[in-house]
Symmetry: C2
Subunit: 339 residues, 2 copies
DNA sequence: ACGGGGACGTTATACGTAACACTTCGGGCC
DNA sequence: GGCCCGAAGTGTTACGTATAACGTCCCCGT
């Protein structure tokens, strides 16, 4: 018959069970072995259940000085890829009693509500994609434990990194195209400053350079179908011999390239081959289905979270890039013989 | 020269500025008009800046009994649509000093980490999609202020609702197809128990019923390209006269329908017309571009958050469905004359 | 017989903040 | 001169939790 307007506290539970508040805390915190009798413990649990007691998180966080919550910073929510990263990260976090809060890098949200303003006291750590570059400066303001996803391991941030082996994926794409006989290649690059895209450009160039007769051109586009459409169209209508293959920094760009080729009256893969990177649902929705590099987003999220938890516990996160592999579908074929 | 290992508190700021902790709270809380002099206020602000002071959120939440944080429950992160909802909701929330935390309905995350376990003390309110049905029971456990997105207004939950005018969208689709001359229609329905999908089925049937000679068939599929592919394929290979149009519950299903039709050797829109619902990027990535119903996801999120804030302030949220409109593209045409 | 130590608790305290209740002081007004 | 009032603060308390430190019993070994 306590006051019903406000939620029950541990003290209410204590009163109902006829013990002290400390005992309630011990029992519910599972620290009662050898301190409270079995029967009393059960009585406390029963009282808590009866009253519908829920611990007050704010009080607990204040008392403990930590929140068991980490932040996942992603460049945008639009992408299926980061949905997978979140899923993997959240699963691992849950296994360790941690929660994950998402912070999509602002786009139309404005800096008014800076989630890092009080991050120090609301979060235990941060897992951040290198693509959300603008948010990084804000993060560094606080001294929160940080693990970067797909970022330069030798970077100045000094944070631990977990990376997909994008370089190897690009290598596989290049070898696949070279084996088919392609020599003139257009690189449709994401116009986003991020290490993960730099790697693509560097590796593609490195792999093609030693092969005689190769020609690498680059077009830049924002990561959107329309952006890729426009960039591809201008790149393919500039004078000079037309590339026989378009290597795209991700699947979304590839979808834009498809549209540009269709508009120019070119067929995929008969006239021009196209490759992507990510292997999203989009890759099999378009026609022909896209040859692309499959990234295991969930595993990526899991490994990232494991690294962050290691940092939080003072352990050394174990490195090693996550392998990726090429998935060959209908968008690649030998170049037209007329070439 | 205070201890540097731990973060500065408001008391540290007070000491540095030569005032009491209460004064610091007043100044930084912007409640100092007529209680603290201009010069003192400035001195406090300067000290806070100097020390890099950040208020401790846990302490503040405990003191105030609220968090200025609300939860957005979405069925999955995969969808571009809910990314838009989040963006709109987060923008409105930010304008009112609120933060938004995302809760993607668990899929492989398991119930171990129930975000509602202590929701009462960590959240001020919940904005939930009706598609995340499994999470709703958990929500009702706590007595948190709740606003539903796209849910039955007369539902037993008794929560306020904000809805898109899906019924009108379906009406527009039906009228468009009828005007083109279609009579035999396949409804590719999402196999997800949710009011928003019930409305589609009900409204489509209602609009076709009074037209003589119409025939409505229904196929159910999970919301995925492959699921839709399989369902459409079996629906179109069953004996009987083939439908001339496929009305899909969303764009993703439409992409699956495209694949099924392609596999069956049928062309869109010459042999079969297809319509979607959502107008995602996917709609213009596939060929031909999809005739679909555009939903303004951001506006949806904004209106939802406005309603929730109204509830939190004890005001009456204003209703009214959000209008939607048909976007006609290349996937619809008159039925083949042989029909 | 006596002391040492489990078993079973309780009391007290601190985390950092916001807000209520108070004090002090210098005018202004009758 | 007495009185009240506003400006400019300060002292204190409470929010609900987790845990360190402290008391009892009572049993058992020597």
């Amino acid at each position: 018959m306590t006051r019903s307007s406000t939620r029950p506290t541990s003290r209410d539970v204590a009163q109902a069970a006829g013990v002290s508040q400390a005992a309630v805390s011990l029992v519910l915190g599972d620290k009662w072995r050898g301190r409270v009798s079995q029967t009393t413990a059960e009585r406390v649990r029963e009282a808590a259940r009866e009253l519908g007691y829920r611990p007050n998180l704010a009080a607990r966080n204040l008392r403990l000085g930590r929140t068991r919550t980490v932040l996942l910073v992603v460049p945008a929510l639009t992408t299926e890829f980061f949905a997978g990263v979140y899923t993997g990260a959240a699963r691992v976090a849950a296994e360790h009693g941690f929660g994950v809060v998402l912070y999509p890098s602002p786009e139309g949200i404005g800096p008014a509500r800076d989630p890092f303003a009080s991050a120090q006291t609301a979060l235990d750590g941060v897992l951040a994609s290198s693509m959300a570059a603008d948010a990084l400066t804000a993060i560094r303001g606080d001294q929160l434990p940080l693990v970067m996803l797909d970022s330069d391991p030798t970077g100045s941030l000094g944070a631990a990194t977990v990376n997909l082996d994008i370089a190897d994926g690009v290598r596989q794409v290049a070898e696949h195209l070279l084996a088919l006989g392609h020599r003139r290649i257009l690189h449709l690059a994401a116009d986003v400053p991020s290490w993960t895209f730099d790697v693509r450009a560097r590796e593609l160039a490195a792999r093609l350079a030693p092969v005689p007769g190769t020609e690498l051109r680059t077009a830049r586009a924002p990561i959107s179908i329309d952006g890729a459409l426009a960039a591809t169209e201008t790149a393919l209508t500039t004078p000079g011999t037309r590339p026989t293959a378009v290597v795209c920094d991700d699947d979304k760009l590839a979808a834009g390239a498809y549209k540009a080729l269709r508009r120019l009256g070119l067929r995929v893969p008969d006239d021009v081959s196209v490759t992507g990177l990510d292997d999203l649902a989009l890759a099999t929705a378009i026609d022909p289905e896209l040859t692309t590099v499959r990234l295991d987003a969930e595993l990526f999220g899991e490994r990232g979270m494991q690294a962050l938890l290691a940092v939080l516990e003072g352990r050394q996160p174990d490195g090693g890039d996550i392998p990726v592999h090429l998935v060959v579908r209908g968008s690649t074929a030998p170049p037209p013989t007329s070439a």
